[in-house]
């Protein structure tokens, strides 16, 4: 056994010495002129926005801008591919909101929630119930804030008693909340629509291009807002809670208060995502919103992208949804793709625990050398 471990260790170091390091160096050599070229832009960015959203290197700025341009021009390049990218990327935007919503609470404070789909489902079901039970159906301007508020209320209902708990108990409470929600939809199917849910929600639009932008813009706004919060003192306290809660208390700060704030912020984000998802397809049912799989998927997205980082969950969500709905689907078909997807998630958990996108971000940041 130990001989095998040694052999694997030797293999790994050979691979690292002969392939990874040289190619990493080669890539860095190629990229450092680009980094230098972009540095004036980065300096400008850092001067005006750095204190709010963190500082970037030239290459990091380039990467951000390239990603934004790619997202903004999807309708131009999506038709070149076989697949349904206009829809898939719009779905990815919604899930990026969910992954960020989970991350700002669980990723930052370390209080892992297994029940975040209950929050987004609250918003979705509120929208659907308003549409089904009120006549005439109130406008978006009423239903959207009410639905987000409903998510916040449920978030506080779960958060207030449970955030004082520690260890696995908080996670269990959230897990039970989602199971309870699911059983409620089945048990009170006359009110909550049962397995089939509701098909009554007005879809924003069936124009695929317009619909994509209607999902993209809120996602970017949420990302910007959460980045500002995460880079503020609040974000620092949240991470400190994760690292050492007692130290936070000793510093005279009330950790529960900060955890509640993060939960509230997270609930609002989940509410926004839930509303987007409800108006995206018009159907609100347990399989789309509630079941615990949805909660686990949010976690997986945030973790493979890189927890406690805002950009990580976005990248994770896009990677996850693209793999699931397009790439793996093309190769493995509808059912087997899930097996491959979860295997890939497992690989990331084992080999890139800090998340793929954090890894990329820091690797890119390290090019040029002088910022290390």
């Amino acid at each position: 056994m130990s001989e095998r471990v040694r052999r694997i260790g030797r293999l790994r170091s050979t691979v690292r010495q002969t392939i990874l390091l040289p190619s990493g160096r080669a890539a860095a050599r190629v990229l450092s002129p680009i980094d230098r070229a972009l540095r004036p832009g980065a300096n400008l960015f850092n001067r005006f926005l750095g204190s709010y959203v963190g500082e970037v290197t030239g290459l990091q700025l380039g990467l951000l801008v390239a990603a934004l341009v790619a997202l903004a021009t999807v309708p131009m390049w999506a038709p070149l591919f076989v697949g349904n990218y206009m829809r898939t990327l719009a779905v990815a935007c919604i899930w990026a909101v969910f992954a960020m919503g989970w991350d700002i609470q669980s990723g930052y404070t370390g209080y892992i929630s297994f029940g975040h789909s209950a929050l987004s489902a609250t918003a979705g079901y509120t929208t659907a119930l308003l549409a089904v039970n009120l006549s005439p159906v109130p406008s978006f301007w009423v239903t959207i804030p009410v639905s987000i508020l409903a998510a916040l209320v449920l978030g506080l209902l779960i958060g207030l008693p449970s955030l004082r708990l520690s260890g696995p108990y908080f996670s269990l409470v959230t897990f039970v909340a989602v199971l309870l929600f699911y059983r409620l939809t089945i048990g009170f199917s006359e009110t909550l629509g049962g397995e089939n849910g509701f098909q009554a929600v007005e879809v924003f639009t069936w124009d695929f291009t317009e619909r994509y932008y209607l999902m993209l813009v809120p996602m970017l706004l949420v990302a910007a807002a959460l980045t500002v919060v995460a880079r503020s003192n609040v974000g620092t306290v949240l991470v400190a809670i994760r690292e050492n809660e007692r130290a936070v208390s000793a510093a005279g700060l009330d950790p529960t208060k900060f955890k509640l704030w993060s939960f509230a912020l997270s609930s609002i984000t989940m509410g926004i995502g839930g509303v987007l998802l409800a108006h995206f397809g018009g159907n609100v049912d347990p399989a789309t919103f509630v079941v615990v799989d949805r909660s686990i998927e949010m976690i997986a997205m945030a973790v493979i992208g890189g927890m406690s980082s805002v950009l990580g969950p976005i990248g994770g969500a896009f990677l996850f949804v693209l793999l699931r709905d397009e790439i793996l689907r093309l190769w493995f078909g509808h059912s087997t793709r899930w097996v491959m997807l979860w295997l890939l998630v497992l690989l990331v958990l084992v080999f890139a625990r800090n998340g793929l996108f954090r890894w990329i971000w820091h690797a890119v940041g390290a090019v040029g050398g002088d910022r290390e």
Binding site: R16, L20, L21, S23, G24, R25, A27, G54, E55, P79, L80, F81, V82, G83, N84, R87, G110, I112, P168, G187, S189, E190, G194, E195, N196, Q199, V203, W206, D207, V239, R242, G281, G282, N283, D285, A287, T288, A300, V303, M307, S308, S309, L319, L322, E326, I327, H334, A352, R353, N354, L356, W359, I360, H362, A363, G365, A366, V367, G369, R371
Partner: protein, 444 residues
Amino acid sequence: MDNDDNNTLRSDRTGKISVGRRRFIGAAGVGAVATTVAGCIGGGGDEGFTVGHLAPLENTQGIGSERSAELAAEEINEEGGIRDEDVEIVSANTRSDPSTAQDEASRLINQENVDLLVGTFSSEVSLNIMDMIAENNVPYIVTGSASPAIIENSTGSDYEANKNIFRSGPINSYFQAEAMGGYADYLSDRHGWNTFAYLADDAAWTDPFTNNLPGELESRGYDVVYESELSTGIDDFSTVMNDLESEDPDAVFRFFAHIIATDMLASWHQRQAEFGIEGIHVASMTPDFYELSQETATFETTSQSGAAGTTDITDKTLDFVDAYQSFTEGDDDAPDLPMYMGFNTYDAVYLYREAVEEAGTADYESDLDGIVDAMLGLEYTGTAGEISFYGEGDDYPHDVQEERGENDEITNFPITQWRPGGDLECVYPEQYRTADHVQPEWMG
């Protein structure tokens, strides 16, 4: 998932903490993943006539429908195709899930550039995808789901915007409820059954039954002693059976598409409950349901388009069943019969061919009106009956018209009954009857 991971994470959020440059290779790895997408470059062609088929393919209705569409395409291609173009069926699995169905339908429209969409079994799915399909103008013929809301919410509310949507069968559940009234008359005449109970899936397609059938039965002079909608996730029928036994109806009309009521049937036989089980039970339409239910399906009835090939509804019915059976020979996944949805889908492909040939174009983008007019002008003899559509001013525009007999009773709604030994007989309406309805042997 390992929670502890959370504690091992570093708080290196600012990007200033050292990360080995060698790690840069990670970026290259992800880049490699990204480039795999490049393998997908290409686009759907416009050659031929493509029919998109939407149905749940883990369900015998969906599979029967899919094979029937394939059969229709093969036969039509042997005859020279649709307007000289070969017909190709592109099949997508909706899994009876509205979100999946939406994804699949938009793929068929955007990626496969389909010329026609047929199928959809669950009414929730049909209701959820039709706005998107209306927006894209692709002709869409619903062949599986029966909720009148499909028409009411589309052509019935905004005709111009939804005129590409048709429903070729079965008759919608509003008419089905009326037809059930006629069937109750027959049961009353035959067995003296005058009190009934009502059970249904809690789903969109049963709403018209829930709203209309009890009243319909009462207006015909019968008593309705029990009414209940059951959660589609129900797994215990003992309460329902107890309630039914204490209310003591002569027969229970139950409408199950989502619920597979084998437990209820087992309990019915075991208790020798003193009532007939009538109505619609979609699971019971599967040819091997008799064996699957361990023979407890005996004496239950279900309505189904095409009457499961027990009788020649039109001169095409039995030929189609024969062709289907030789087409699916050796195909273990396919049910032995086309299923009600198969009859309707097969007819839909054929009648659409007739319509576009009449219209002189299959190009819905430039002449949808011409195609719609031709569809509305059709009087097509299909395998499940005569098919013609209601027009713009009617209650259910573009819905299949019900057929009526001498006494104004609805006739294109045949009902079959499982008999001891596993035979299936058509018991209603009279003109298609292969045998009279029998009551359970423990009754009377």
